[in-house]
């Protein structure tokens, strides 16, 4: 068998494209001498090693580029479908000439505008028209009517945010987040409602908060309490906060006191937006310690040295196993 034929059969075998007849030919050739077996083993190893190929992608830069392309696309769309018709078109033409098109069209539009603020890869502090303050976690978005027109201050939230609300008796502050409603009764609290997570969570730092789903009755949450609305079962479950780690995305502080590594892994996975898993033996090991603005590498090292587990880097996170 010539060299080309040899490699042809080996490639077919490795890629699962080999027929029974060819398989017999390959086996016969392999049995001829030890050298042939070595060629096969080395070709197989080369085949496997190609999986080690990597490419360093700059996701941040790519997102910047894509989001500006999206923004561009949507600007033109608004002009095209605008109900104001010829007027906006003139405004747009003016915009091309003198660059004030945006001011012009909003000036003539008497409808209250929905204002949307989205954080990309950074935390964002937003002061609302009523002086209430919102800290938006990464990948989150709030929307509200400009100047809070109407008898309520309504805010739509996707993602996670901490609210410090200026209480107004006559104009309640209401947050809508993924089929739930959170009503402030004078207070500061955290809401987590990412649209790819199966629940909405509310944790109260000070004051009192009302939390309700669209159908069920309202749960009143006092400071130090935490409630989870499960979207699937449509039930709300509340309990006392065990720690202030729900605020870690804002404070950079993570505190553990006799927590199992299973709990620690869940908290860290969420904080670092990665996937940290433990094997069953490591999951029950207790850990006490604080992280202050720690990078994930440092945090994993601290866990490794203080609990004696073995930490290994995985493609999409970390793995902790008992030694």
């Amino acid at each position: 068998m010539n060299t080309e034929k040899q490699y042809e059969l080996i490639a077919k075998s490795l890629s699962g494209n080999i027929s029974d007849q060819e398989k017999a030919m390959l086996e016969q050739w392999l049995g001829e001498n030890a050298e042939n077996a070595t060629v096969y083993a080395q070709a197989k190893r080369a085949w496997e090693l190609t999986a080690e190929q990597t490419v360093v992608a700059d996701t941040d830069a790519a997102w910047q580029k894509l989001s500006s392309l999206i923004a561009e696309g949507e600007k033109t769309e608004v002009i095209r479908i605008s109900p104001v018709g010829w007027f906006t078109r003139i405004a747009a033409a003016v915009a091309v000439l003198v660059g004030i098109g945006f001011l012009f069209s909003t000036f003539f539009d008497k409808q209250p505008q929905m204002k949307t603020i989205a954080s990309a890869n950074e935390m964002l502090k937003v002061v609302l028209p009523d002086s209430s303050v919102v800290w938006l976690n990464k990948g989150s978005q709030i929307a509200y009517l400009e100047n809070f027109e109407g008898d309520k201050r309504e805010v739509k939230l996707t993602g996670e945010a901490f609210f410090d609300v200026v209480h107004k008796e006559d104009k309640p502050f209401v947050i809508e987040a993924n089929k739930t409603t959170i009503t402030d009764i004078g207070t500061s609290f955290n809401v987590r409602a990412y649209s790819n997570e199966p629940q909405v969570e509310v944790s109260v730092a000070t004051g009192v908060v009302g939390f309700s789903s669209t159908k069920k009755e309202q749960v009143i949450l006092n400071a130090g309490y935490h409630a989870v609305f499960d979207l699937k079962s449509a039930t709300i479950h509340s309990e006392q906060n065990k720690s202030a780690n729900y605020m870690a995305w804002k404070t950079g502080q993570l505190m553990f006191e006799n927590n199992t590594l299973g709990e620690v892994a869940a908290t860290l996975s969420r904080y670092y937006n990665t996937n940290i898993v433990t094997d069953s033996a490591a999951a029950t090991i207790l850990f006490t310690g604080n992280f202050n603005h720690a990078g994930i590498g440092d945090a994993m090292r601290i866990l490794e040295t203080s609990t004696g587990v073995e930490v290994s880097k995985q493609q999409n996170g970390y793995n902790m196993s008992a030694r």
């Binding site: 060299t3 080309e4 034929k5 490699y7 042809e8 080996i10 490639a11 077919k12 490795l14 890629s15 699962g16 494209n17 060629v39 083993a41 080395q42 070709a43 190893r45 080369a46 085949w47 090693l49 190609t50 999986a51 080690e52 190929q53 990597t54 490419v55 992608a57 996701t59 790519a62 997102w63 580029k65 894509l66 989001s67 392309l69 999206i70 696309g73 989205a118 954080s119 990309a120 890869n121 990948g139 989150s140 978005q141 996707t158 993602g159 990412y194 649209s195 790819n196």
Partner: protein, 189 residues
Amino acid sequence: MNLLLNDIASFERLFRSQHAGLVLSAHRILNDKARAEDVVQDVFLNLWQKREEVSVTENLPAYLHRAVTNHAINIYKQQYNKLVQHAEDMPEQTGNAAAQADTALIAGELSERIEKAIASLPDSSRGVFMLSRFEEMSYKEIAERLEISVKTVEKHMSNALRHLRNYLPVLVLMGLKIFFEFAVGCLPF
């Protein structure tokens, strides 16, 4: 409309979680990082623009992977046709790459050596090899997709595998990774 795509924030999360993996998939086929990134960008842009009309019933990562692969294969096919226009047959198997492998032996990381070995594959064979290896397409599927014969696919596969085996240092191929790195560490330079 897909729940995952109802706002830009969740779209961004999807993008960030899938971007690197998709770029790698496209890069394997195209061997060109800038092109691979463009392919991924186009697919995401298209998905965002059509999010209201397209109903994605399967899971989004799988959908994205297929869209990126299809897009990359289309580009590869154009390149492939250009490549073979100039040559009567496929490029000849490069000669014994052992000399190159010897230099590669002391040139650093294992992964770097693998990158080099893959980069040194003849362009027309590389794409075919990658489609078989990583997209798990059968020879028949590859042949149909690129409009070439199954025989040509076989030839490319044979070529690529032979090239990789010749190019990679024997120590690496023996699976003695640890010993190998230790040995390199002991070299006097």
